[in-house]
Symmetry: C2
Subunit: 332 residues, 2 copies
DNA sequence: ATTATTACCGCAAACGTTTGCGGTAATAAT
DNA sequence: ATTATTACCGCAAACGTTTGCGGTAATAAT
């Protein structure tokens, strides 16, 4: 366990003061080029790097962003995080990721840690059980901007970056209308989640506003297995009539596909399928599933942009919503 | 931007010294219960939390692990990381995740940051281009244990945690033998990766040692699309004969399934499929794909256990290899 | 030859902790 | 009534930086 190089050691070796070394390494104009040269040389030789704890204790600022997510296994997060990281690096920030395991207690600990470490900013997708936004406001009090994404709390004066729930649902519904399908089964997730409500509402509104007669049935499924069962019974109900199934999420799509394969149905001939997705699952099937895309990439750039403004002093709260687009796969 | 509570403020308010406050909060026996009570009360009231930078500067130890991965979109990582986190929490450690984007340069920066922050330990899956292990040895010099997992460098005296490449390939090959299939197509990934070599070697060895006459053909595919093409041409070659396809990875499985669906083949009747996987992709199909599992969960526990021993002073390098098991899905 | 400017550097305090050591008042032992 | 013990607390240094301020020697201006 060898000791780390410090300013003090450089100073002693070169018979100068610690302040001089510190200033030389920061290229301060007060220091002569000759001493700067000597100091930089020695520093490079012994591989000096400033102790971040000492620096932070003194200066109270670090260049780090924290991203907090409930889980890692999510393609949307993946693209969002990649995007943020790439952009943050350009601004000289590094980012690390915390995982809350969808546990509000752990989330709280993570937030506290972010606060104590005085990170420059926090991007967070909250737990499904997160109700209390006080801890987030507290971060703000300490001058740490918080930007919510994907799973956002119901809070007016927060910065939020949302996937295009509404637009995606609209695109999917429009696609169904264009196909002239008569019977539609919509499968949605947890009815308590705002994402579900928005998608449900928009989907229904668009389908009902179209001047076609559509028999629309909607149900909620809390798991892939449940979605599978729903489809199996629906297939019996709609026997003989062409049915289009709308899947609100990848998880539901997975269950639906299980049922479709189990029954040996071909799409788009026997049945129509359309989904909202980040694009991974839909591409596993043939024909590929048609979906309204919710990619995190552009959103990440927007989020970081918003963050930089917050750091620059903007206290203006804003909700940014991405646009979606339809990816035709041939499943409807 | 309100100021943080500090020991000094508590001390001033209560007319005691900073040392007394510090000791009281740590339940030091030198402090009377009465003063302890007062101090703890005030600390709770103003929500005092020690400044981690000051603490670390003084004590040189934090209770944090870093996990470094090339990418987040990987189910094996997901289970491995979950497992590590869960276990680490029990030991009072928190963990954060760094993402190298498979870029050796970024990886280097992350390692440096880990070193400067004197994290308690690093779990890392290296970049595919990482050749130089010097930076890792340097961490060791500073007393920071490094445990490699999944993508590990060729280095004898390192702690490594590996998925059960050999065992998984063996299980898959044995399953094929048991089914008595005559024609086998093995599709493997990048032939330069050690993981590919091990799986290839074992798979071939087991199939050839079985005293059955098997026509085995193996190819490498660097993408899902390539795997799909391979299957399409193979189906023409093996026309009329029952074929079993072994997929070394999820990516290859995805390509294979594309071809199988495109041709409208049913498994296990028309074709047999078996894979090595963490279990997500295989469960999307019906029947589910039979696969040899490479789960990170148990491995994570083992890795953390090894880490705790390293921290306790063990300098003994060890390679831990997980066992795999076959998950029957009905695809062969 | 005195004064003002410039170039260069160091002192010392501060950030917020932890901890060895010593010190006083109260109690217990001679 | 003196000495030894105990209970409780504070001083001060240290961790490794940064930075305002002042200070000296050399140069430029009077």
């Amino acid at each position: 366990m060898k000791p780390s190089p410090t300013l003090k050691k450089i100073a002693a070796q070169l018979n100068v003061s610690i302040s001089t070394v510190s200033r030389a390494l920061k290229d301060h104009p007060d220091i002569s080029i000759e001493t700067k040269r000597k100091i930089n040389e020695l520093a490079a030789l012994i591989e000096y790097d400033p102790n971040p704890y000492a620096v932070n204790l003194r200066t109270h600022n670090n260049k780090e962003f924290a991203i907090v997510v409930p889980s890692l296994s999510n393609f949307f997060y993946h693209s969002f995080i990649s995007s943020i990281e790439e952009e943050a690096r350009k601004h000289g920030y590094s980012v690390f990721i915390y995982r809350s395991s969808n546990d509000p207690q752990i989330e709280l600990e993570i937030l506290k840690s972010c606060r104590l470490k005085r990170v420059s900013g926090v991007f967070i997708s909250v737990t499904t059980e997160t109700k209390d936004i006080a801890p987030f406001l507290k971060l703000d009090e300490y001058g740490i901007p918080v930007i919510f994404f994907d799973k956002v709390p119901a809070c007016e004066l927060c910065n939020k970056i949302c996937v295009a729930d509404e637009h995606a649902a609209l695109l999917a519904a429009s696609a169904i209308l264009k196909k002239g399908v008569q019977n539609v089964l919509g499968i949605f997730g947890d009815p308590n989640m705002s994402i579900t409500q928005v998608r449900y509402h928009t989907f229904h509104k668009v389908l009902n506003e179209g001047n076609q007669k559509i028999q629309l049935q909607s149900v909620n499924a809390s798991s892939a297995d449940e979605a599978e069962q729903i489809v199996l019974t629906a297939l019996a109900d709609f026997k003989g009539r062409y049915l289009a199934i709308f899947c609100m999420s990848d998880e539901i799509l997975a269950g639906v596909m299980k049922a479709v394969q189990r029954k040996g149905l071909k799409f788009p001939q026997d049945i129509g399928i359309i989904s909202i997705s980040d694009g991974m699952i839909p591409k596993l099937f043939y024909p590929e599933i048609t979906y309204a895309e919710t990619s995190g990439f552009k959103l990440g750039k927007l989020a970081l942009n918003r963050m930089m403004r917050c750091i620059a002093g903007s206290s203006f709260a804003q909700t940014i919503i991405d646009e979606s687009h339809l990816v035709e796969g041939g499943s409807i």
